[in-house]
Amino acid sequence: MILTGNHAVSYGVKAARTEVVAAYPITPQTQIIEKLAELIAKGEMNARYIRVESEHSAMTACISAEACGARTFTATSSHGLAYMSEMVFWAGLGRFPVTMAVVTRTLAPPWSIWNEHTDILAQRDSGWVMMMCESAQEAYDTAIQAFRIAEDERVLQPVMYGLDAFSLSHTAENVDLLDQEAVDGYLPRLDPSKLPVYIDPDRPITFGNLLGPDRMMEFRHLIKEAFERARRVIDETAAEYSKIAGRPQTGLFENYRCSDAEVVVVATGASSGDVKEAVDSLRDKGVKAGMIRLKTIRPFPGEEIREVIGGVKVIATIDRDYSFGFGGILGRELSAYLKGNVFRYIAGLGGRDLTVEDFEDIINDALRRAEGRRGDVEEVWWGLKEVE
């Protein structure tokens, strides 16, 4: 089926037999929730759709529906995610296994609808498993896997996954949809009795009343442990999905031609395909290049990546995001796990186009900078123009 990344998410959410959708429109997420509204209205999907008045209410409704045992989904972007943020934390810290698609978009001002990852990464401490999709196919696959990860008894945390604005959200490609039977076998119905919080008059509990300083750390530690277990669950979930889909799946990260690499570039999201092309092109020219694609950002697979590229001499990280006063978020985070030459590139902010040539140039640039300058850590704003 030819689908945009957005519609691929909608079909994944349908295949997962989602029961409650609560959503508010924002460009470029709208296609996801429009398609879901249509599928529900036509009776192709048996779910309740709450047309809330804001993203804050969207996440609130999802949390409360999840608390009553329903499988829930929402989608948002940029300002919507920022506005929702209080409830994003509520879902993570309250351990409600909601799933959410985030079409990554620049935060204003000035207004921009174009791609950037700062919106999703700003939620990285909220207790959500976080992923980034590379293609419409992966968006469909991830929409289904997200529920498996979120509802796994070893995890029971919400899952959000990012789609780059337009380059993924609005780009149509051929997407292979699974048989409903296969999805049903892979993703059993949610068993409410296994939820950390199940609100049911037959088994009355109070959720969320006051907790003193004598117990809060222990509650947080439970979540920390869930995230440690999630590493394995994410890889298992991907491996089992690849069996029913007949296609390889990425769990924590993708290792692309890194085994003998002398220079490795680390990137995430929809431009990863272009990065791989750049790696291939450099390989043809005799440069031993490789790539790590971060599929999962929380839990952060730093140690797992170090095992693969810890000995590589030159590493270039690419961030389509920025934490002011700190740096590119993913590059900085990965640097904590690596020694040696890590060159952190800030590229494509505000939706600026990045091409295969850009990525080739970035890898060559990192190699040049590394010559004779061991142990340096540098940040480069790629393609920055003079301010007039």
Binding site: E19, S57, A67, T206, L210, L211
Partner: protein, 303 residues
């Protein structure tokens, strides 16, 4: 009409809650759950009621309480309703229980959204006329003249009329109530339980520490709020207004007690001059003139 005999002896609010002495909202919660019964889910935002519940792992009630964030009551109730519907679970009362700050201020957007969608739940605003949980800061439901920690010389603006805003949503049922008249409140809740769609009850809830009166005077102060006409008890359904309880006999000014009787019991009005008190009395008179017009118009309107 609801009588004492109709109130079950079953208790759904468990003993030992952490409310202040004389708390009208704790008292009203007890009454409300007796009417609603065990097949009820309550969602509660940041408010005095979040403190009233006491510390985990203890539970304050025999029905489930789902605590949610400050602005979230109506959206939370909407999510609960959607889940119960898709799960085919019928006959469960879904109730949002929020304070005036969580309703008139930070939660009004979500409440308005849920009202426009006519979600099937009961929303109860217990109105103690300020942010009492955080130490008596003014809200948009604080009445004119009241001293709070953020209106140290008395609030300059009038109280926001949230029930009127809810009526403008054309929802099936809007009512006011006062904690000092529990049977009137119980009757309204019982009616709300039989109606599909969003039911809104705005419950005046006198607050001894916030309004600065002795804890044993909660009921007395609440009754004076009604008998002076400062707070009008009514229902609005199918486009018709109906006065209830003592408010039925108060359409004429001569039948209402002077507002001063209500003000004088409360420290929050302690700084009012004679002139200030006159202005507040005029506010009450104007409020009744307006309400009487609404009563007449709704009685004359074709059904």
């Amino acid at each position: 009409m609801f009588t004492l005999k109709d109130l079950t002896v079953e208790e759904y609010v468990l003993p030992g809650n952490a409310a202040c002495p004389g708390c009208a909202s704790a008292l009203s919660m007890r009454i409300a759950l007796k009417v609603l019964g065990p097949r009820t889910i309550v969602t509660i935002p940041a408010s005095c009621t979040s403190v009233m519940q006491g510390y985990y792992p203890k539970s304050p009630s025999r029905v489930p309480f789902l605590n949610t964030a400050f602005a979230s009551t109506a959206a939370s109730a909407s999510g609960i309703v959607a889940a119960l519907e898709i799960k085919g679970r019928h006959g469960i009362n879904v109730v949002g229980w929020a304070g005036d700050g969580g309703t008139a201020d930070i939660g009004i957007q979500g409440l308005s959204g849920a009202a426009e969608r006519n979600e099937n739940f009961i929303y109860i605003c217990y109105d103690n006329e300020a942010y009492m949980n955080t130490g008596t800061q003014r809200s948009s439901a604080t009445p004119r003249g009241a001293v709070t920690t953020t209106t140290v010389t008395g609030k300059a603006e009038r109280k926001k009329d949230v029930p009127a805003i809810m009526i403008a949503h054309n929802m099936p049922y809007v009512a006011t109530a006062c904690a000092a008249y529990p049977l009137d409140f119980a009757e309204k809740l019982r009616k709300a339980m039989t109606i599909k769609g969003l039911k809104y009850i705005h419950l005046l809830s006198p607050c001894p520490p916030g309004w600065r009166f002795p804890a044993e005077k909660t009921v007395e102060v609440g009754k004076l709020a009604v008998t002076t006409g400062a707070w009008i008890l009514y229902e609005w359904t199918d486009g018709k207004y109906t006065l209830t309880g003592p408010s039925r006999g108060l359409t004429e000014k001569s039948r209402r007690r002077p507002l001063k009787d209500y003000l004088i019991l409360q420290g929050r009005f302690g700084k009012l001059s004679e002139d200030d008190a006159k202005v507040l009395q005029e506010d009450v008179d104007l409020q009744w003139d307006k309400f009487n017009r609404r009563l007449r118009e709704s009685a004359e309107a074709p059904k």
